[in-house]
């Protein structure tokens, strides 16, 4: 197992607690008994490795999956996938999904009274390149109401699912947009105590990846759980 990663401890406060009463759905679904500390074996230090064959031609362009262009503000979302040591995570599968510009998901359980867009499915996939970079073209998702509390609205977000170097670096998260006034009110965003970690969830507007006359650029770098920095015997 010499080449397999040895994962470092998760820094305190950077991940949400399971129970967060402000987020109502966690109350009946969060475990109530203490978690049992699991030594890292082959099952945790390995994970599925996806290849280019799971990526379709239009998977990284959510605006090109139908006959016409979707409505909304066109955006290019890009960034680097790194570990805590700053090393690029290469060949990693990223899956994304999101609501359309009106704040409606193409999902039978989404009851929000906002129009569907026949030209937008809202899902994509990409593999990171040799420098850990990825890019999606999409439209900016709309905010939408949800039933968590009175007049509750989710800030605009894109869901991200990432497979890193092993099962322990598996990450499912959400990317938010800078300056969104709904962030301060959102119990899901606010479930993290470490302020720097919270800032990781917010993309930044990026003029360098903004294409003139075409699309606004947003940069979203993602940091996966890192390897143990403890010096090894050599």
């Amino acid at each position: 197992m010499g080449k397999l990663p040895v994962f470092a401890k998760v820094p305190a406060g950077t991940q949400p607690e399971y129970l967060n009463p402000e987020y109502r759905s966690s109350v009946k679904r969060a475990p109530t008994r203490p978690l049992i500390l699991l030594p890292h074996s082959l099952s945790e230090r390995t994970g599925p490795v996806f290849g280019q064959d799971c990526i379709g031609a239009t998977d990284c362009d959510l605006t090109a999956q139908h006959a016409g262009a979707p409505l909304g503000e066109r955006i290019a979302v890009s960034g680097r996938l790194l570990d805590e040591g700053g090393r690029p995570v290469r060949g990693a599968l990223i899956e994304v999904w999101q609501a359309n510009a009106a704040g409606r998901y193409l999902h039978k359980m989404d009851q929000h009274n906002a129009p569907l867009d026949p030209n937008f499915s809202g899902c994509g996939r990409a593999l990171t390149d040799s420098d850990g970079r990825y890019q999606f073209l999409s439209i900016k998702p709309g905010a939408y109401p949800w039933g968590n509390h009175g007049n509750a609205w989710r800030p605009a977000h894109i869901h991200f699912s990432i497979f890193g170097d092993g099962l322990l670096s598996r990450l499912v998260t959400q990317m938010y947009f800078p300056g969104d006034p709904l962030l301060a009110l959102d119990p899901i965003y606010n479930c993290v105590s470490d302020e720097k970690a919270k800032q990781r969830l917010i993309s930044s507007f990026d003029l360098a990846t903004t294409t003139p006359e075409f699309a606004l650029g947003y940069r979203f770098d993602i940091v996966l759980r890192g390897r143990d920095a403890t010096p090894m015997e050599t």
């Binding site: 399971y18 009946k28 679904r29 500390l37 490795v49 989404d110 899902c123 470490d194 890192g226």
Partner: protein, 188 residues
């Protein structure tokens, strides 16, 4: 460690838009010989109500899945890698999948690992995913397993897939998120 890790956020209720492309209920394994096991169960919340919007990711590690083989080798055939399965619960909170039962193995430190599957559990209401394991009831090496030893004896059965009346040709394994029979979840 110079970079703060990105926090987890819930998968939410609408994950099937993005995740169903890679759903698969038949887990292909290397080696492909051995006994096929059909595992069925339900995910239940703190009120005992079924969870219709959970997704399970099964990871069955083998020596062949060690990273040094890398992409494009025999460890991966077709678009979903061997040893991996992703299964969403239905409206009754039920899931099922089949796999080849893994072998017991002893690691380089001499520790015994009884046949098991790693399970990542995601759903609305979970701000970060849960990690658990499926072991096989009646397996001779369970008594020596390095991880089961760490679990209080009275809770070990929550990790065992076992034959049941409802599922005579397969194995049953339910996930109880809370309550008397709360499943053992791990931090790693």
């Amino acid at each position: 460690m110079s970079h703060v890790p990105t926090p987890s956020q819930t998968v939410g209720p609408f994950f099937s838009i993005g995740l169903s492309e890679l759903c698969r209920e038949r887990i292909e394994c290397v080696p492909a010989d051995g006994q096929r096991a059909l595992i069925r169960g339900r995910v239940l919340d703190g009120d005992g109500e079924p969870v219709p919007d959970a997704v399970l990711e099964i990871w069955q590690a083998s020596e062949a899945s060690c990273g040094d083989l890398g992409p494009g080798t025999d460890a991966r055939r077709g678009k979903i890698p061997d040893g991996f399965g992703r299964i969403a619960t239905n409206e009754r909170g039920e899931f099922q999948f089949s796999t080849i039962k893994p072998s017991a193995r002893r690691d380089e430190d001499g520790l015994m690992h009884a046949p098991h599957l790693a399970v990542v559990l995601l759903m609305r209401g979970l701000l970060r995913h849960l990690l658990t394991r499926i072991y096989f009831a009646g397996e001779g090496t369970n008594g020596e397993d390095a991880v089961l030893q760490l679990v209080p004896a009275e809770r070990r059965k929550t990790l065992l897939a076992a034959p049941s009346q409802e599922n005579p040709r397969g194995l049953s394994w339910d996930i109880h998120l809370q309550g008397e029979r709360e499943t053992v979840f791990f931090e790693a």
